[in-house]
Symmetry: C2
Amino acid sequence: MNSVSATEREQESNEASSTCVTMQAMGRAARAAARLMARADTGIKNAALKAIAAELDRQRPQLAAANAQDMQNGRDNGLDAALLDRLELTDPRIDGMIDGLNQIAELPDPVGEISDLKYRPSGIQVGKMRVPLGVVGIIYESRPNVTIDAASLCLKSGNATILRGGSEALHSNRAIAACIAAGLKQVGLPETAVQVVGTTDRAAVGALITMPEYVDVIVPRGGKGLIERISNDARVPVIKHLDGICHVYLDDRADTEKAFNIALNAKTHRYGVCNAMETLLVAEPVAAEFLPRLAAAYAEKGVELRGCEKTRAILPQALPASEEDWGTEYLAPVLSIRVVADMDGAMEHIARYSSGHTEAIVTEDYSRARRFMAEVDSSSVIVNASTRFADGFEYGLGAEIGISTDKIHARGPVGLEGLTSQKWIVFGDGQIRQ
Amino acid sequence: MNSVSATEREQESNEASSTCVTMQAMGRAARAAARLMARADTGIKNAALKAIAAELDRQRPQLAAANAQDMQNGRDNGLDAALLDRLELTDPRIDGMIDGLNQIAELPDPVGEISDLKYRPSGIQVGKMRVPLGVVGIIYESRPNVTIDAASLCLKSGNATILRGGSEALHSNRAIAACIAAGLKQVGLPETAVQVVGTTDRAAVGALITMPEYVDVIVPRGGKGLIERISNDARVPVIKHLDGICHVYLDDRADTEKAFNIALNAKTHRYGVCNAMETLLVAEPVAAEFLPRLAAAYAEKGVELRGCEKTRAILPQALPASEEDWGTEYLAPVLSIRVVADMDGAMEHIARYSSGHTEAIVTEDYSRARRFMAEVDSSSVIVNASTRFADGFEYGLGAEIGISTDKIHARGPVGLEGLTSQKWIVFGDGQIRQ
């Protein structure tokens, strides 16, 4: 080891430890803000959301200037066109953020909701009260509008938030954070209720996900690599989904039109989304009837087909599907197709290859619909509708912070309620244990 | 390094890797059994519980012989009297296990319960269905009756279980496991639905808590050291509580009799339990009225008092409380007492020192009761009743696998429902996304 590298290493380690100190301070401030947010009433929280919306509208020039700086840096650093597009804060996108804030202000407040209150033989009255989780850490990639989406959901559900966006969007995120701080201040809520990590240092993420004393849950939003890294290293619970390998099973008792429409919509409505179908399972008795018409429709949309041997016997134009295909989330106009003996065969395939996101059956058979619904272990199980409905807005949550494929806590689309938990409450009249 | 230690090390590492292979095989078997358990109907699960109860009754001689072996080993290894007492499987304790099984058979089955089913503007009908978590790993210490408690709750909630008891109870646990296997077999459920780790190798715990592909959640039951170790090393979610540092706050608008009864009951009903009061907070205006009478009652029960300065001005017999006392779960006839200015002072103290388990206020003031209820962030918040009510049976859960002080997923007493999650279900008539 020479003296230069020792010095460099020391400098790096100093930087990391100073980032750690900064993150700890943010954590402490968030924890203190969380107590004030938890007791903020619905009216104040809604006023804050509207004040932030007004600030975004007022500070359009500042937002444009900050975003221009990120766009210039992005171009200088050779970001590709798709990433640059996601990074851009156009006026319609700012309108979208303002609309989002106003919509979340309209949603019912989950905090303080009391349920299941009943008397026990001892005379105490026991129930549950919905309360904020506390401090939510959100780690996301380049889209700056996530800053507003995430902050507004956490604010409405009474949580404090620490947001860590992508380095490409740093200036834009800071400008948005300034609007949020101004809005919070106007209504008398602590500005530290929403904090944006102001450094692009990677150590900041490492610190954020390992402070259980200050952070109650982490929500990562981004590519699979990011989410896997965070899940592996986190010392606090993570609300996440890794893959959306969604299946549609066309049963031999399916209605032909429903089968055709759903199989087409689930694949081709949008390709790059987690609730798109990646594998189509078809019951053997109807494969020869269903597949050719579907294949023609897929061909028209430019979808590449990869099939098992039985599929290729019906659709010779399909490429052979490999073992790897069954476990792949294409997020693209590619579809794998497998002919299965029956619903049990379909459920076996799903149990083995599904990522636990969303599966659908198309059938008119009552008992099969009931069994599929009960036995398939995914966050959404659908009878006779497209997998594309697995979405917080379609389910009526009003908003969505993400979709969870975990079974603990929140499962499927996560809205305001997923950012809360329930504590037990007891009303007594002096009761003691005998 | 000499050749002997190298050989020993190799042998150890071979043992560890063979344990790991064994645990992986148990995990695979549990995962397969979990699918069958998830679809087992209520009648079959109840029949299994009753068959296991009958087997325990029939195999009393085998249980006695196995337990005698553990007791002899325990005596040979110098286990203390308290541990030997917990280890012993007396006939009344076997009766207790049988009663427990029959009680759990009587509880409603949470699996398959559908809630919140409603139509959306798109025409789909969306709701939630309660489903088992999958595979539950339970790690516990010497009491062999936990084997039945834990297995029966997991069985009723449709989960597969891997149980890892203390090495002192290995023979007893194996004998109980044989009864469970016989009961499961009689009703046609997979014997691998409840597996008991048959080795005392420590590596088995390490493997069990780091197999997210096979284990969905870990429930540790035992001392704080065990739970901390498991939480730190686990790669799967853990349902746990570390401490029960519970507070009772006597407000200056408290009813005198309720205050006296609750403060006495919360401390002295039982000492070694997690919902016992460890710190009493008293509002300054009523401290001189409440404390002397309470101190006399505590003295009669042999409770040692440790107070802040203001407490000691009223109760000179109290020892001085140190900063450490406020953060200590005594689990013993020791009580720390602090005089606070008012309810805000009490809530500040609780926010700083509570373990988030259970806090109670005694007051007749409506607005203060409402604020305490809303603002105190613990798994149970109680108005005018003893902290000792924070318990699955008292809350009407029928049974309890543990008490969680975490905010994610289950909070407070965890019964059958805490061993399940909810998936989304969608009923459609051919709907597609527009």
